[in-house]
Amino acid sequence: MDIEQALHSLRLRALEAIEYAHKLGIEQAEVGVSYDEGLATSVRLGELESVERQRDHSFAVTVYDKGHKGSASTSEFSKAAIEKTISKAISIASFTAEDRFSGLLGPEFMAKNPRDLFLYHPWDIGVEQAEIIALRAEKAAQDIDPRIKNSEGASVSTGCGVRVYANSHGFCEGYPTSSHSVTCGAVAEQNQSLERDYWYTAARDPKELEEPEKVGADAASRALRRLDAKQISTCNVPVVFPAELARSLFGHLIAAITGTSQYRKASFLLDAKGTQIFPEFIEVIEDPLIPKAMGSAPFDNEGAATSQRKLIEQGVLTGYVLSSYSAKRLGLKTTANAGGIHNLIVKPNAGSLSSILKKRTELFLVGELLGQGVNTVTGDYSRGAAGFWVQDGQVSFPVNEVTIAGNLSEIFKGIRAVGSDKDKRGNIHCGSLLVEGLTVAGK
């Protein structure tokens, strides 16, 4: 993809669209335009299994007509299709009720000269090279142990995209991004019982991906360690969430402190700003400006400049996750989170996962979480799980068919250690967590 060319053409489309909306008498309009390309190559049992090429266009417009809002989108980029889409948004706005909180974010919040966060690192590989990388991952999984008797395959995917946001303040900015991954799924078999697991590496820069052999070997050893699992009896026991699952708990935190769940009163952390919701040692920041990180963005989906901020200080919630609309509803200022959180970072107070496992004489180490079972309104938490019984820091046997349950308010307060083994594949960077106060249900 010629990035400069693509950016230029998206900018033109965005500006034309805003101009067209103005011409139709609309005071305020905003437009998001994007173009993405990708290639996904997968292999299974040593053979190429599928090759998928993607190419996506998206044009989305929101108009505000004297406090009435309307939105429309299309995958077609022709002038006629875009004009039709804008007219549709205006038509919708003629039926929606006036809302004094809706409208563009004020011009003073717009990002000025947005910073380059180095989010675009194309991976110049074709199908044949991708196939070789995927085969390396799968072979590493198959070679690790004779009990790896089957495969869910391995895949390599690479994608690049350009997005532009423009609005009636004259803001029109965009940037390219890339994202690449290598995934492997292994199936282990022993005594006629089957277990599968997977592992993946993901990064914006292909140079930062783990070696395919490591991905394959990790997938295989994760499947192997689950063999011959048994159900345990119901008990209250310390629970360790490894880094790749620990981030989900902070995902539930974000869901409860977004402006929408606050003004809708749909949160167990309603009006919790300024209160102690974690133990004192917990510090959480949001850093949208980390070069190359998955959750980085120089501005949010409304053009608001992003910046680093503290979200949890000494266990106290210091703010919410707001867009312009939810901020106005709550009488606050936007936190540049239209579209979500950008790199939430949980500060560690402990070391590796293995050092955390030694902190209690016996505990349950979660290996997998199944199902949703999280109620953001009440904080009630109940999820299916598989994992491991850990005695004196050592795994004694694998466990399955259990649930872990509690209430998120107490789970948050029950965090006893945060590991330094951060998982940076997503937008929440958190190490392994030791938590007290959960019930493990089984026999």
């Binding site: 998928e52 309307g70 599968r196 199944l370 949703q372 079972g373 649930t403």
Partner: protein
């Protein structure tokens, strides 16, 4: 082989789809023939071309007013080329002949060897019609859609003064598809889909907050909500659930008998056995049900079908996304595993026929075996008799979502409304809890099946490999002798 001759047969769906997808951009049927011909110049077992247009619209009521409406148009073509177990797939959301040709070239790269260029001439097929070929978006004026939602909001608030928040949404989808395949199918489907949802938050005098949720829908137009009691029923149901949850005590933890209510709790079947019976996992032998056809996997009481032919249901299809007519397939008959669910690829590799379960989220994804409406046939017990049979356990009539690990067979589904059963009677409501079990043996523990078969209200979405499709589930009341309940009270 020559491109096909003039179409003689005709059908509503085909004329609508042809106008929507081809005529509007100046494409001819012969352009699709050229695609198939060019694809089959490589050594392929199968190829298809799938045009799709989806108009989607949703209106949202919040704080008593409809302040948001979103409309979207998504249109494109997906090209698939299959050689042995290999699939080449490309799509384009630009529908000119140049983009079509690029996608064909990219998809057929999966096979390097030159083929004989042989394929079946496609003849246009008339298809079954189990829902009307209509565009639900234009069937009701926008002002009336807004009125429907504000009415819903008012109804909810009038039922109970503890309601402090109501968010409702009305969604319509108008999907048209046109498929041509190298095995000779040319046809179309027009798929309307509507849905109405509401979630309410209630606060009691102790400031305890709880939510309730209800919805309904199917393949039809908005008259499903305007000409019926459905909107009132949805309003009452959401309030009822929130009110029940305000009284709920902590759920028990551990193994115990569980009675599932009729209808939406059929999500049990979807998770515990449905996914495990999808053809792709069984061809690859990664399912806990692999190579178990003919074996007992459930008690005698259990007969389970996947039925895409139920009129107007959310999971129903006239044809699947490969042109195969949707069917009623028996998965488990009196406890014995009868059949997997197949798309064309997995059926061919397992020497059988597609069961009409080849589905895709959109043109941008390749098809795979997916469920339609999955349900258990009724048994002989009265529902009351089933509850009375339990000394200590729980009764769960409503659920949120679920998930399954196909390979180990472990599955979960989370109750959103549940009660303790003590000495055969429903007593206190309990907080929502996750239930976990083992797919291959959970149905062997079904000791009683009720006579009260119900289907879900029409809100199900199933996700697999990043693709979402609308589905339905259903079942009568049934008793499972032992299941693990994920509460906090041991």
């Amino acid at each position: 082989m020559q491109p096909q001759q003039e179409i003689s047969a005709s059908s509503d769906q085909f004329n609508i789809a042809r106008a929507e997808l081809l005529d509007s951009i100046g494409l001819q049927l012969s352009d699709i023939d050229h695609c198939i011909a060019k694809l089959m110049n490589r050594r392929l077992d199968y190829a298809d071309v799938y045009f799709q247009s989806t108009l989607y619209e949703t209106w949202t009521v919040e704080d008593g007013n409809v302040k948001e409406g979103v409309h979207s148009v998504d249109r494109g073509v997906g090209i698939r080329a299959i050689s042995g177990e290999k699939t080449g797939f490309a799509y384009s959301d630009e529908l000119d002949t140049g983009s079509l040709d690029d996608a064909v070239t990219a998809a057929r790269e999966i096979a390097k060897e030159k083929g004989k260029g042989r394929y079946k001439v496609a003849t246009q097929r008339a298809i079954q019609t189990i829902y009307p070929s209509i565009n639900p978006l234009v069937g009701l004026e926008d002002a009336q859609k807004v009125a429907l939602l504000t009415d819903l909001d008012r109804k909810v608030r009038s039922i109970d003064n503890r309601v402090i928040q109501v968010v409702g949404s009305l969604t319509g989808v108008y999907e048209t598809i046109l498929i041509q395949t190298s095995d000779g199918f040319l046809g179309s489907d027009v798929r309307p889909l509507v849905r109405l949802n509401v979630s309410v938050i209630m606060k009691d005098t102790q400031d305890r907050l709880e939510q309730g949720y209800a919805g309904g829908g199917g393949r039809g137009d908005f008259s499903l909500f305007t000409g019926t009691d459905l909107t009132s029923n949805i309003a009452e149901e959401a309030v009822r659930q929130a009110a029940v949850n305000l009284e709920a005590i902590s759920a028990p933890a551990g193994n115990m008998p569980v009675v599932l209510g009729p209808g939406w709790p059929g999500i049990l079947l979807h998770e515990a056995i449905g996914h495990g019976l999808e053809g792709d996992f069984n061809r690859k032998k990664t399912s806990a049900f692999s190579e178990r056809i003919g074996e007992r996997v459930a008690s005698d009481e259990c007969t389970v079908v996947d039925d895409g032919t139920l009129p107007g249901r959310r999971g129903s299809l006239n044809i699947d996304d490969e042109g195969t007519p949707a069917a009623c397939n028996i998965l488990i008959e009196k406890g014995v595993l009868k059949s997997y669910m197949h798309d064309k690829l997995n059926a061919r590799l397992m020497n059988t026929q597609s069961t009409g379960n080849g589905r895709r989220e959109s043109f941008a994804y390749p098809p795979m075996p997916r469920m339609t409406n999955t349900y258990m046939l009724p048994g002989k017990h009265e529902p009351e008799e089933i509850i009375e049979s339990v000394d200590k356990g729980i009764y769960a009539p409503n659920f949120g979502g679920g998930q399954v690990d196909i390979t180990s067979g472990k599955f979960v589904f989370s109750a959103s409304e549940a009660y303790l059963i003590e000495k055969g009677k429903l007593t206190a409501p309990i907080k929502g809890a996750m239930l976990i079990g083992n797919g291959p043996d959970v149905l062997t523990k079904v000791s009683m099946v009720g006579s009260d078969l119900e289907l879900d209200p029409g809100v199900g979405v199933c996700g697999k490999d990043g693709q979402s499709v609308p589905v339905g589930v259903g079942q009568p009341t049934l008793r499972i002798d032992s299941l693990t309940v994920g509460g906090t009270e041991s």
